[in-house]
């Protein structure tokens, strides 16, 4: 099996997996039925993408592996999602902030992956980008609403952005795996993704009357399997059935 490609598919699939999970925790608890439906929609799209990546990964692996083995039966350190997406649903401003900070990355990432030499990755990216354009529109609209809404909402949005900002840098830290995939023409060039990201975030923050945080410290490790304390709890939920009732068909 092509282990690097397999690992890269995990890297691509784990962000939507964990973010989709976080959004799914909110189902039925949103501030309005409309936002509830929209966030569930995004969660559904993300899980759809996860299934494409993991079905492909399972096929590469052979050994009768399934998408569910890939999604549910790894240990903590084998998950490669960035720290950003595992952060909790502290309040609606965090949910929107986390979503926007991810969407602004996800969109240019997929633009790059559409040109991947790997036909399947390219096909997944083509399909996903339509969905992610909608996610980005939804989250950026809400960043503006909250940032330029009331005094209270402005405060909350600014606070959420401040708190989430340290996790942004990791999105663009190129791991050896990503470098190798980029050089093979399969993976994305993160420096180009970052260029678009910075411009996009700058623009939306301005429209939303938000200050771009200027703190220099960053937090990373997720892509290498070193996570925040959050992930263990996520996996306790995510893997519960598969661990408690192993080897069964559902």
């Amino acid at each position: 099996m092509n282990d690097q490609l397999y690992q890269y598919l995990l890297l691509l699939g784990d962000n939507p997996l964990i973010l989709g999970h976080r959004l799914s925790e909110l189902c039925g608890h949103g501030p309005s039925l409309e936002t509830d439906i929209a966030l569930t929609n995004i969660s559904l799209d993300l899980f759809g993408q996860v299934r494409h990546y993991f079905q492909y990964a399972a096929k590469l692996n052979g050994e009768n592996q399934t998408e569910d083995d890939v999604a549910f039966l790894r240990y903590e350190h084998q998950y490669k999602n960035t720290l950003l997406v595992e952060q909790p649903n502290t309040d609606f401003a965090y949910v929107i902030g986390r979503q926007f900070l991810f969407d602004a990355y996800h969109l240019p990432l997929l633009e790059q992956l559409m040109a991947s030499k790997d036909k399947q990755i390219s096909a997944i990216a083509h399909k996903s980008i339509k969905e992610v354009k909608y996610h980005h529109r939804f989250s950026s609209e809400w960043v503006k609403r909250l940032g330029d809404g009331t005094e209270a909402s402005h405060q909350k949005m600014q606070t959420a952005i401040e708190d989430l900002w340290p996790f942004v840098a990791e999105l663009f830290e190129e791991t050896p795996l990503e470098q190798a995939m980029k050089e093979e023409g399969i993976g994305a060039d993160l420096s180009q993704v970052k260029e678009k990201y910075d411009a996009d975030v700058q623009n939306i923050f301005e429209l939303a009357q938000l200050q771009r945080p200027d703190h220099q410290y960053t937090q990373s490790g997720g892509k290498k399997g070193v996570h925040s304390e959050q992930l263990g709890y996520i996996l306790a939920d995510l893997q519960y059935m598969q661990r408690a009732y192993p080897n069964m068909t559902w």
Partner: protein, 315 residues
């Protein structure tokens, strides 16, 4: 006034559809608001017992299907609130009635969902019972309600099949899975029968509602229909309903069944079921914690509108 009411009743009797702008007796309006909003609240509160299992769904396929199902229920809530709003009440008022306990929702959602098999049992039995209750409402006299129900019933039957398929998979699985399915049936069976409401003899709203075609069949008729439909499905699964008195009555052409515990039903209706407090608290929390978000959306929209105006004036 009497003439108006007579003419109204004649329209209903002729099978005409009543639209929001048509004249209607105040009591007809109130009864529709009560029933439609109760139904809307049930859709929204009904998201909670199943929502509880999304993060723990056993496979990606099941997770996505469950999420989509619950999203459908949110959509049902939306159509129904809109239908109620055509009768001159706002969504905020309707929510307020829910949160203060003035409005009811289906008691079934005050029971806990304890295992994955409950996702099967809820779809199969609860959505199944909902369809039996609701199919007749696709031809109810109030137009917006009838039209909402057409759309909703289609999706509910999809949910019912999806739930049954979860049960079928469990029953074809390991012994542990089959036990899980049986346990879920044991817990959800009687509450599902209670979804049709109190026996006809004790039902307060039935007669007038029948006259207005807001309701078209009695509680007991619907309950019997549901039981007759469901027992063969349980047989296919190879699990049994928790009723020692259940048996086929050749003469009646229906299943006879045991006594329903109406004390339990009234306890739950009064708010003393296993999860009444948690369900209502969850809704109230979502609403209260969402207030600043809704305020922000309004403030932002106003600012944008002002900007547009200024541009128009300057132009």
């Amino acid at each position: 006034m009497q003439d108006l009411e007579k003419a109204f009743q004649a329209r209903i009797d002729a099978g005409e559809v009543i639209e929001p702008r048509d004249w209607m007796p105040e009591k007809y309006r109130k009864t529709n608001i009560r029933q439609i909003s109760q139904h809307a609240h049930s859709e929204v509160v009904g998201m909670l017992p199943e929502g509880n299992w999304i993060t723990r769904a056993p496979s990606l396929r099941r997770k996505v299907a469950l999420l989509a199902k619950i999203q459908d229920e949110a959509g049902h809530g939306l159509y129904l609130y809109s239908a109620a709003e055509t009768l001159g009440i706002s969504r905020d008022e309707l929510y307020d009635q829910l949160h203060t306990g003035k409005a009811k929702y289906s008691s079934i959602f005050n029971y806990p969902s304890l295992t994955w098999a409950d996702m099967g049992a809820i779809g199969w039995l609860v959505d199944g019972a909902a369809i039996v209750n609701q199919v007749m409402l696709t031809r109810t006299s109030f137009g917006p309600y009838a039209r909402a129900m057409v759309r909703i019933c289609k999706e509910e039957s999809f949910h019912q099949r999806q739930g049954y398929e979860i049960m079928l998979t469990l029953c074809k699985g390991t012994e542990v899975q089959k036990q899980m399915a049986q346990d879920a049936l044991n817990r959800w069976w009687w509450p599902s029968l209670m979804m049709f409401g109190p026996p006809d003899a004790e039902s307060t709203h039935t007669e007038q509602s029948m006259k207005w075609r807001i309701k078209r069949k009695s509680n007991d008729e619907l309950r019997q229909y549901f039981i007759d439909m469901t027992i063969p499905q349980a047989e296919v699964l190879g699990i049994t309903v928790p009723d020692p008195d259940l048996k086929w009555n050749e003469e009646r052409g229906h299943y006879d069944f045991g006594e329903i515990d109406w004390d339990e039903f009234w306890q739950v209706v009064k708010g003393h079921g296993p999860c009444n407090k948690q369900r209502l608290d969850a809704r109230k929390n979502a609403w209260n914690e969402g207030e600043w978000v809704r305020d922000a959306a309004v403030a932002y929209a106003e600012k944008q509108a002002n900007k547009q105006e200024q541009i128009a004036v300057a132009g």
